[in-house]
Each structure stands twice: as C-alpha cells, then as structure tokens.
C-alpha cells in the first residue's frame, strides 16, 4: 500500500502537566477527506498545529507522504491551511492574498497570474481580484482563504473550523462547496470541527476525539450506527441510555444483558464485567411505540407518554418508564397518524440488533 498522506504515531502534546493531545495514531490516505470531530478543548487544534508544524510534539512522530517531518519548519511542509477567522492579509488584495504562497515559491509572474485566476475560478470568486478582504462578506473571505491554501497545490489541506463564523444557511452551502472543491482537486484534507452535522456530511472518514485521545475512526455510517464507545454514542446524534445489568462477562462483540425480567443479547464493543451495571444505548428513531407488549425477542419498556415535541418531519415522544427512567422515541410524521396521547400507557420497543451496551464509566 502507498504511504498515507498524513500519518501520526503516538503523538503527544503537553501544556504544563496537562496533555492536550494524549498519544494519538491517525492516518489520512491520499485524497481522503478526514474529519477530526470532538468537543471544545479536546485537542483538535493542537493536533492540526502539530501537523502544520506550529507546535512540536512532545512524543511520537508525524509523516507526510512517507517523509518524517518532525524537524521540518512550517514553511517547508507544503501544507494549505484555512483558519476559523480566515487570517487573510488585510493589507493585500484578494489576488495578492492568493498569490502569496506562489510568490514565496518564486513562481514567475505570468504563471502566478494564471494560477491565481484558476484558483479564484475554482472557488467562484472570478473578478474580485482587486477587492480588499475587509470589504468582503464572511462567505467570500472563506473562499479567498480556501483559494489561497489550494493554489500552492499543498500535500495536505488543513481546515480548522472553517465554517463556524458563517450563518446557518451559508454554512450548509459552503459544506457542499468545500466538499465539491476537495473532490475536484483530490487534495488530502483534514477538517477540524465540533459540528457533527458538518462531519457527517463532508467526510470520507471521521475521527472522534475526546480529551486528547481518538475514540473511533470510521466512516459516517459506522460512527453513527456502531459507535465504539459510550462517548461516541452520546456525542453523535441523540441517544437513549438505559441502566441494565450485564449477565455474563463479555464485550468485544456481544454480551447478554438483563433489564427487569427481560434478557437479550446485544452488541458490546468494549469489555463488560459480569453482574455489573452497564448502559444500554439505542437511538430514538430506531424505537417504536406499541399500545401493548408483544413479548418476543425485542426489548420492551413499559411507560407513560409525557410530552410531544413536533419537529416538522418527525415528532419526539418523551416517555416516562415505569422504573423511573425516561427515554425518547422519534416517530416519522409521514402518514399523518398522531402519536399516542399524553398520559397514555405505551410500550417502547427496540430490536436487540439496534441496542449497544457500554461500560458505565466512560473511560476511553
């Protein structure tokens, strides 16, 4: 197999005595769109800054296209960067901003003009060459920053929360545009975001980070449907969590769990101890509501409807279970049927195949 475009091995970064990045291994393949997703302060920017060469890892090493870059300063790494605040040079025009990297590479004038025009064309900014960045909208600045980073044909494109300063509608447009530009140029891209929607829409693969570590790396569907840890399960989308007991030691693949009188075998990616309390996770949209129990292989939870939350295409039904816990069932609003009335007794039903058990302690 060819060398990964970016490869991190055992990379650690300490600030004082606290590890901002706590030993991560990560590979981005040639042409891949990889997203680092995680809550604020989990070490995403720190990771990106080490790839860019602004920070030196305290341990581990980084390779770009098979070449060790630990001793390479940022200006020799051939990396394209787009910052959250765009970091456009305010004293230069749009064209001068985009030309900057080429000028540093001593590309000749005619060639620079050609490539700047092509880059501006790529991000749909044709004709705005002579504008100053301060006289542009957020979306336009975003595109200039993208053009400036891409025009140097970087080995890797790094995007640090590039959309977080844009309003919602523009953010959604830019998501697709950036993805489109990435497909067309085929540049290996690492995006940093704390927005799961962004990660799910844009990425080939997502690396979910938490407290300086990577919890799972997988494509969007796997991350959403088979979260490897409780953290990933809770961080992406909505998740119901139910306190159950593991029947036997298990984990790695599956484990039997007990809830009241019901026992069922569910997925369990992590190791579980026998007779310990564990958390059973299931998605609101994978649960259904029944008027009365069916008593078959699925998990069935008795409860009372407490609240409806109408969301346009879906309705969330909040159910108070008889054991005191609560859970949410999401019903599609497709057939015009109304959800059970508030106060009515219902049974929440989830297929065993849609349940996953995790240890109670969320340790990576």
């Amino acid at each position: 197999m060819a060398d990964a475009a970016v490869s991190l091995r055992g990379v650690r970064k300490l600030f004082g005595s606290a590890a901002a990045v706590d030993g991560i291994d990560l590979d981005a393949q040639q042409g891949e769109f990889l997203t680092l997703l995680g809550p604020s302060g989990c070490g995403k920017t720190t990771t990106l800054n080490m790839i860019a060469g602004f920070l030196h890892p305290d341990a581990g090493s980084i390779h770009l296209a098979g070449r060790k870059v630990d001793d390479l300063p940022p200006f020799r790494r051939d990396i394209g960067l787009v910052f959250q605040d765009y970091a456009l040079f305010p004293h230069m025009t749009v064209a001068e901003n985009v030309a900057f990297g080429l000028r540093m590479r001593r590309v000749d004038k005619a060639e620079i003009a050609k490539r700047v025009a092509a880059a501006l064309d790529l991000v749909k900014l044709t004709g705005l060459d002579d504008r100053r960045p301060l006289a542009m909208s957020g979306g336009q600045r975003q595109r200039v920053a993208l053009a400036r980073a891409l025009v140097i044909n970087p080995k890797v494109l790094l995007l640090d929360e590039p959309l977080s300063n844009l309003d919602l509608k523009l953010r959604e447009t830019m998501r697709l545009e950036i993805t489109e530009v990435q497909r067309r140029t085929g540049v290996t891209t690492i995006l940093v975001t704390h927005d799961q929607g962004e990660a799910l829409v844009m990425s080939d693969r997502i690396a979910v980070m938490n407290r300086g570590r990577i919890e799972q790396v997988a494509d969007a569907r796997t991350i959403y449907e088979r979260p490897a840890t409780r953290f990933v399960a809770q961080f992406i989308g909505n998740m119901n969590l139910l306190d159950v007991v593991a029947v036997g030691p298990g984990g790695g693949t599956t484990c039997a769990v007990r809830f009241g009188a019901q026992t069922l075998t569910v997925a369990a990616p992590q190791k579980l101890e026998a007779e310990q309390h564990v958390l059973l996770a299931f998605r609101p949209e994978r649960s259904t509501l029944l008027a009365r129990p069916k008593d078959d292989a699925a998990l069935e939870l008795a409860g009372t409807v407490r609240q409806h939350v109408y969301l346009g295409t879906r309705t969330e039904v909040h159910v108070k279970l008889t054991n005191g816990a609560s859970c949410v069932v999401e019903l599609a609003n497709d057939r015009g049927g109304t959800p059970p009335a508030i106060g009515s007794a219902v049974t929440v039903r989830i297929d065993a195949a849609d349940c996953t058990a995790y240890p109670t302690e969320s340790c990576g």
Partner: protein, 271 residues
C-alpha cells in the same frame, strides 16, 4: 421626549465648553501677536506684523530648529527602540518582563520634573557632565518618549490576529519574510503614531529640558520660559503661534501616509 434630551443637551454643552477652552486661548494668543502696541492687549489695538518679524529672528528660529531636530531624532530613536521592546513585551514571557514593562512605561506615570532631576543627578554622578547639551537632552527625551512608541506599537501588535503570521508561514514564508511582508506593514501605523506622539511630547517638553540643556543648546520651550521672566510680550504670542504650527503640520503629513488617526482619535486601532 423632553427629559430624554437632557443628557444629550448636557453632552453637547460639555463639548462646546471643551472646544471653547481649547480654541479661545489659541484665538486670543494669535490675535495678541498682531498688536500695534507693545502690550498684550485683547482685542488687539491696531494691527502690525512687527512682533512676527521679531519672532522670525535667529533668536527664536534657532531654538525652534533645535527643538524640531531634537524632537525628530528623539522620535526616530524611540520608534527604533520601542518596536523591539513592544515585540518582546507582547510576544514573549520571560523573567524580568514586568520590570521591563515598568521601565518602558514608567516615565509616563512619573512627574517629568522628577525624571529630570533624577537624570541630572545621575549624569553628574556618572561623570558625564561633558555631554550636557544635545546628547543629554536626547537621552532624557528618548526616555520620556519611549512609552508612547512602545504603547502604540504594542496596541497594533495586539490588534493583529495571531493567525496571520501562521498563515504566511504555512504558505512558505520564512520567519524573516513574515516579519517584512506581514508583521511590519501591519504595525507600521502604530509605530508611526508612536513616533508622532513622541515628537510632540519632546517638542512640548520643558521639565526635562530645564535640567539638561545649557545656553546655546536650548529648546524653544526653555527659551520661551526664560523670556517669560520679563513678562508676556506680543513677540511671545507670535512665537507661541509658530510652535503651534509645527506639530499640526507633522500630524497632517504623517496622517496622509499612515492611518495614525486610529491611534489619535480612537481605541480600536487596526493595521
């Protein structure tokens, strides 16, 4: 509606008063200089240009030129010293940083007379008496001007998004190119604003110069001060009007080239 307007009316009144207190003395000084009699009458009695002719003599023009020269050299030196100082203070944490801050900004808080007396004592104690005149004045003036250039440079440095330099680095610019092409162009208006402040401060100073100058090498302020012992004559009014013009012309020139207005008139300095 009426009650709402009271604060506005008060604000307007205050502004008008402020302008009156700034402008009226200037108007009075300038008109006094046109008196036909050797008395500082206002409104002037008659009209003559003889006091202006007096003011244009070497007796006044020479110290004026001396002050301009001193101010320019002091401003340039404090810009050159203030820039690296501001960089060190804003960008780096190091032992003694607080001490350096105090040293660089201290003269701003100290009464200039105290600084002047201190410098006088020091120069004598250090056996540097032979330097009296331009060199000692320059040392003193750089000392009191430095806070201005450190300040304004530090303000522009802080106002600059830190990512700009990182972006330039990632685009292949070496650190020295980043300094030349990104950092310096973006802090230059702060640096020059500091220079203008420094010049004005030096040009209008008398409390330091009082101790450090000697006959023959006197700034205009000291010359005016010694002349005042004989009372206020229309000549002085003409000289005062003349000294007023110098900083105004300087600000007008520099403002054309750099956006120092941000520093002169507003908090929010940028680029």
């Amino acid at each position: 509606m009426r009650t709402r307007n009271i604060p506005w009316a008060m604000l307007r009144g205050t502004v008008v008063l402020l302008y009156l207190f700034i402008l009226v003395p200037i108007v009075i000084t300038v008109s006094v200089s046109f008196n036909a009699v050797n008395q500082s009458k206002f409104p002037p009695l008659g009209f003559s240009l003889r006091w202006w002719a007096d003011a244009m003599s070497a007796r006044w023009l020479q110290p004026l030129a001396f002050s301009i020269e001193l101010g320019l050299v002091a401003a340039v030196l404090s810009m050159l010293l203030g820039m690296p100082l501001a960089f060190a203070l804003v960008r780096h944490r190091f032992p003694g940083r607080d001490a350096l801050t105090t040293l660089a900004l201290g003269p701003l808080a100290l009464p200039a007379l105290v600084t002047g007396i201190g410098l006088l004592q020091f120069i004598h104690a250090a056996g540097l008496g032979f330097l009296f005149g331009f060199p000692t004045l320059l040392i003193g003036h750089v000392l009191i001007c430095l806070p201005f250039s450190v300040r304004t440079t530090a303000i522009s440095l802080r106002a600059m998004p830190p990512n700009l330099e990182l972006a330039a680095l990632s685009l292949g610019a070496t650190p020295s190119t980043v300094l030349r092409e990104i950092t310096l162009p973006l802090v230059k208006s702060g640096v020059f604003a500091g220079g203008v402040f420094a010049f004005i401060h030096s040009f209008t100073d008398y409390s330091i110069s009082l101790f450090l100058s000697r006959p023959g090498t006197q700034p205009i302020t000291i010359t005016i001060l010694s002349f005042l012992e004989y009372g206020f004559a229309p000549t002085l009014a003409a000289v005062a009007a003349l000294t007023l013009v110098v900083p105004l012309v300087l600000i007008a020139i520099v403002q054309r080239v750099f956006r120092i207005g941000d520093f002169l008139y507003a908090e929010n300095a940028r680029g």
